[in-house]
Each structure stands twice: as C-alpha cells, then as structure tokens.
C-alpha cells in the first residue's frame, strides 16, 4: 500500500459521487475540446497568413469585382514586389450541395506569391501550359480519389458558359501540398484565362488582388498608397493585410472566439462550484478519519498533499475522458466531406490538448486547495471528540 493507493481508495469510496463529478468535468472538457477545435479551425488561416501579404478588395464589399487594369496600376506602386489576382468560382463537383473551394488565378504570379504551395517536379510547367489544367490540393485529391491526368467536370453555382453550361472540364496537372503540414489543401486552382474567356459576366475584371510588399514594415504605407490611388474612382479599393482580411472575414460570421470563450467560461465556472462543493463535502465527511491519520503520525503536509492529489486525480479522470470524447467527436465530424470542405482544419490541435491538461491541473488545484488546507489544519482533538 502507498499514499497513491489511499488517494485512489478515497476517490472511489463513493462511486455515485465519483461518477457524477467525473461526468460534470467530462462535459466541461468535452465543450472545451470541441469548441476549442472549432475555434482553431476557424482561425487556422489567420495564423498561417504571411506578414507581408496584402489583399486588395472592392471597397463596397469583397464580393464585388475589381477592374483587371488595377493589377498593373498596383504593380507600379513603390514598395510592392509581386502582384497577382484571383476569382471565386463557386465550385462544386457533381453535387451542388457540397461546395468546394476553387479559385481562378493567374498561375505564374499566384504561385510566386503563394510559395508555400509545393508542386512536384515539372508540375508547375505542366499546369501553366495546359489551358484546362487544374492543380488540386492533396487533401481534396485524397477526398475525391483524384490523380494527375484525371479529367474532372467542375461546376459553378455562380457562373455559366456562353452555351448555358455550368460545367467546366478540367485536367489535373498536379497535386500540391503545403510547406506547413497543418495548412489547408482542400482547394483547387485553375487558370483565370480559361475561366474569364468562357464565362458570361464580362472579361475585364478580377475578384481581388493579392500582393507582397518588399518588407512587412511597408505594409501600412503601401496599403494607404493603393487606396489613395483609387480614391474617388468608380471602383474604390480597400487594402489590408492578409491576416486582417481573414480576421474581418471571420468576424462577419460573428465573434466566434467570444462565443466559444463565453461558453467555456460558463461551463468551467459551474463545474468549479459543483466539484469544489463536492470535494469540501467529501473531506468534511472524513474529518474523523483524517484526525485518526494525524493521530497515528501522518504529518499535516502529507495529508494536505493526499487531499490535493485526490482532487487533481478527479479533474484528470473527468477531464481526460471529456477530452477523449471531444477527440472522437471532432475526428468523426471532420471525416464528413461537407464539414471538411467548410472547415478543412477541423482537428483537435496539440495546443488544445496542452491547454486542457493545464486547465485540469488548475481545476484540481482550485477545487482541492481549500479542502486540503482544512484537512491540514484540522484540530485532531475536536475531530476525534466529534461523534
């Protein structure tokens, strides 16, 4: 027998209380794991944004187009090293209810700016010379079972061709991955020329521009210069860093971070009260036993440690179970193709696991510290004389 055995015996002596407490903690950590992973999925793009990358969109709204002539005008502004553009295609494959991310881009300049996109040897050249060529992220290719050379019909829920068709035939030139393994590769890129020449919305516009500055310290000056340049024109621009753009895009959905933090805080506060009260009650019930332990020679700090270990064990058991359920839920959800296309980074990231472990320890300490102090300071004589 060891102190650990005593701690476990005390922990499991009231099975119903243990189950109920563990369940309460499980719920808190299930919420934390699942909501924290959702938050991570929403914000993953922001974290991976390059510091010197700026996005130029129509000032009215980012869904409104920009004249293609702006690309060269922007390129002429001091402090800019590269410029490219992209168009949202509103792509889907076979099933319109399962949208996917597909962009019509100027291949060469786009790959120059997004140098995190890694193609196979000769893949870039193969794509650039194939008018109907498309490069597909490895995650998307894996989901659909596509391989290089496959002909795939990609439809648009926005655009149509002159003949009324909404389907564009494409050939997979290469499958790319990202320098950053956790980055989303669930999208495809095809040629702007192929798109703009076949769709019916006009031929002199782009969706938005992406540029890199020579140094991130120039970002503010460059952004101001671009917007000033197009001020009072028929199409004014709004330039921001890629990080800020992604963040403001997310904020349109709502303050996800605030919602998630509020839910987690409410859950933790409630659990803190429930488990804290339960631990205090449990130690109160054992007053006489603690007095006996002290009488036979167990030192007060040792008893303090045993009570604290009990509350930390309780938090760890409930917390790890909750986290386990969260991992199963998130893994299950992320294998759903529809959800995967909406939230490609939906995983339980290691940072959430580490944070959760920290919170478990904190929960155990906070709920255990007062009962442990009470046990440590227990007056042996009073406790023994109590019926």
């Amino acid at each position: 027998m060891t102190d650990t055995y005593l701690v476990l015996k005390n922990l499991t002596r009231n099975k119903l209380r243990l189950v109920l407490n563990c369940f309460a903690i499980l719920i808190a950590f299930l919420l934390f794991g699942a909501l924290g992973s959702l938050q991570h999925a929403f914000t993953a793009g922001i974290e991976l944004s390059a510091d010197n990358r700026l996005i130029v969109v129509n000032k009215i709204n980012f869904t409104q187009p920009l004249p293609i002539a702006y690309v060269n005008k922007v390129r002429a502004i001091d402090g800019i090293s590269k410029v490219t553009h992209a168009n949202w295609f509103g792509a889907y494959y076979q099933d319109a209810r399962r949208p996917m991310v597909g962009l019509a881009v100027d291949g060469d300049s786009y790959l120059d700016i997004y140098d995190n996109i890694l193609l196979s040897d000769g893949g870039r050249e193969a794509w650039l010379k194939e008018r109907q060529g498309v490069i597909v992220g490895e995650r998307m290719a894996h989901m659909h079972g596509w391989k290089v050379g496959d002909r795939i019909p990609i439809s648009s829920n926005i655009f149509s061709q002159a003949d009324g068709s909404t389907v564009w035939d494409m050939v997979i030139s290469d499958i790319f991955r990202d320098k950053e393994p956790s980055a989303d590769t669930n999208f495809l890129l095809f040629h702007y020329k192929y798109f703009i020449e076949t769709q019916t919305f006009g031929k002199d516009w782009v969706g938005w521009m992406i540029l890199t500055t020579e140094d991130s310290s120039l970002n503010e000056r460059v952004a101001k210069a671009i917007d000033t340049n197009f001020a009072n024109s028929s199409t004014e621009t709004d330039t921001s860093t890629e990080k800020a753009f992604n963040r403001s895009f997310l904020e349109q959905v709502g303050s996800i971070g605030l919602i998630i933090t509020s839910v987690i805080f409410a859950a933790f506060f409630t659990i803190l009260l429930i488990v804290g009260n339960s631990m205090a009650l449990s130690i109160r019930e054992r007053t006489r036993e603690i007095a006996v332990l002290k009488t036979i020679g167990f030192a007060a700090p040792r008893i303090f440690g045993m009570v604290l270990a009990e509350s930390i064990s309780l938090a760890l058991i409930g917390g790890l179970l909750g986290l386990g359920v969260a991992v199963m839920l998130i893994n299950g959800a992320s294998s759903n193709p529809q959800l995967q296309s909406m939230l490609p980074n939906l995983i339980v990231p290691p940072s959430i696991l580490i944070q959760a472990l920290g919170y478990m320890l904190a929960l155990g300490l906070i709920t255990g510290i007062f009962p442990a102090l009470r046990a440590m300071r227990l007056n042996t004589i009073d406790a023994l004389n109590r019926g």
Binding site: M1, T2, Y5, E289, V292, G297, F298, A300
Partner: protein
C-alpha cells in the same frame, strides 16, 4: 519488569476557553509512568481522562509544565516532530475503533507502516504477525463493515502494535463492546503488556476492565487518587 521512567508529568496545567469562560482541567498535575506498566485511568466524565491521554500522546499540549518522555520534554516539539514521535513510539486504540471504511483489515493494519521505510514484504510480514497476534489472520481481506465490533477493535489493536511502538494509549477500548468481547480485548492487552513488555495506558469507566491493569489511578477534578492493583 523494568523500572525505568517512561513518562513524567511535572506541574502540568491544562485549561481551555469555552466561549468567554476559561475551564481548567489540570492545575499542577504530577505523575509518572514506568516502562512496562499497564496503567488504568478511571474517573467520572469530565475529570480529564481523555485530555490526559491526549497530552501523553502528544496530540494536545499542556498550557504550562513539562511532559518528559524518557527524560526529554515533548511539549516543545514542533507539530512535525510530534507526528514523527507519535509514529515511532505510540499506538492508539480508540473506543469506536476508527478504522478506514474503504480499506480491508490488512490495509488498515498496514497504515502506520506507511510512515516507516519498509519494503512491501517487510510490511506484509508485520501485518501478518499483528493480525495473528489478535487472532484475525483469517479476516485480513475483510472490510470493517464485514467485521463485528470486537473484531474491529482487534484490527484496531493490530494497527496500534504493528509498528512495534513503545506504548499503547487506549481510550475506552471496551466501551462499545459486550462483556465477553471486552474480556477478549482486555486479555489481548494484558498479553501485550506481559509477554511483549508494552507499556499501556488505558482510560476506562469500567472497574472490571481496570482490574486487568497493574496500576489504577482515579482521576477526579484533575487530581489523582492511586490504587495499586498489582498485588
């Protein structure tokens, strides 16, 4: 039997405050206990029997005066030192057994051994020996709730002697037992005193129980009236 002094109480005062009133239990109490003695302490309720036991066990401290154990004062030891001292020298036996309900008999007996640096096999041997001595080796795996009052008290005695303490402090050890069971428990205590040389201090209300002791002190209003039962 050795005649060395085990305990000496010199001018011990003990008082405590209850509300605004100060209650004096002992005022200049003197006594000594020799090694190997079986001392019974009797007296009416509120006479200070349990307080004396607590003072001897280092669970409580005197308001004034000295308590010497083998010539060294224990009343100025720190809490931590007193814990160690209790673990090394004292075995406690309570009226209501005070066993840990979630531990079986053997584990209950093993508790004091957690305070000593012993291997698992050494601990197991000591537990087996203690349980054998009280005749409960067959009940080692039973939970306290599966044992009778007398059996629980025997487990408590085994717990008190397992670490081979210098003396045993027994607070009404037969107070919750029927006569036949009480006799069994007292015979075990007598055996521990006579055969194993354990010094025993037993508080009791029961004159029949006190007859098992070699000396009986009657405590009344914080003062002793001695009766020698050895003869």
């Amino acid at each position: 039997m050795s005649q060395k002094q085990l305990f000496e109480l010199n001018n011990v005062n003990k008082s405590f405050t209850k509300g605004k009133e100060e209650i004096t239990i002992f005022n200049g109490l003197n006594m000594s206990i020799k090694e190997g003695e079986f001392l019974a302490i009797m007296g009416p309720s509120g006479s200070g029997k349990t307080t004396l036991l607590n003072l001897l066990g280092g669970v409580d401290r005197p308001t004034a005066g000295d308590i010497l154990f083998r010539g060294s004062p224990i009343n100025n030891l720190s809490e931590g030192q007193l814990s160690k001292w209790r673990a090394e020298h004292i075995g406690f036996i309570f009226q209501f057994y005070n066993l840990m309900p979630m531990l079986n008999a053997a584990r209950n007996v093993e508790l004091p051994l957690l305070l000593k640096k012993l291997s698992r096999s050494q601990r197991r041997n000591s537990v087996d020996t203690a349980l054998k001595l009280v005749g409960l080796e067959a009940r080692a795996g039973h939970q306290p709730s599966e044992l009778s009052g007398g059996q629980q008290q025997r487990v408590a005695i085994a717990r008190a002697i397992v670490s081979d303490p210098t003396f045993l402090l027994c607070d009404e050890p037969t107070g919750d037992l029927d006569r036949a069971t009480a006799v069994e428990i007292l015979e075990i205590l007598q055996l521990l005193n006579r055969e194993f040389g354990k010094t025993i201090v037993m508080v009791t209300h029961d004159p029949a129980a006190a007859e098992y002791a070699s000396r009986c002190l009657h405590l009344d209003k914080g003062e002793f009236i001695e009766k020698d039962l050895a003869a």
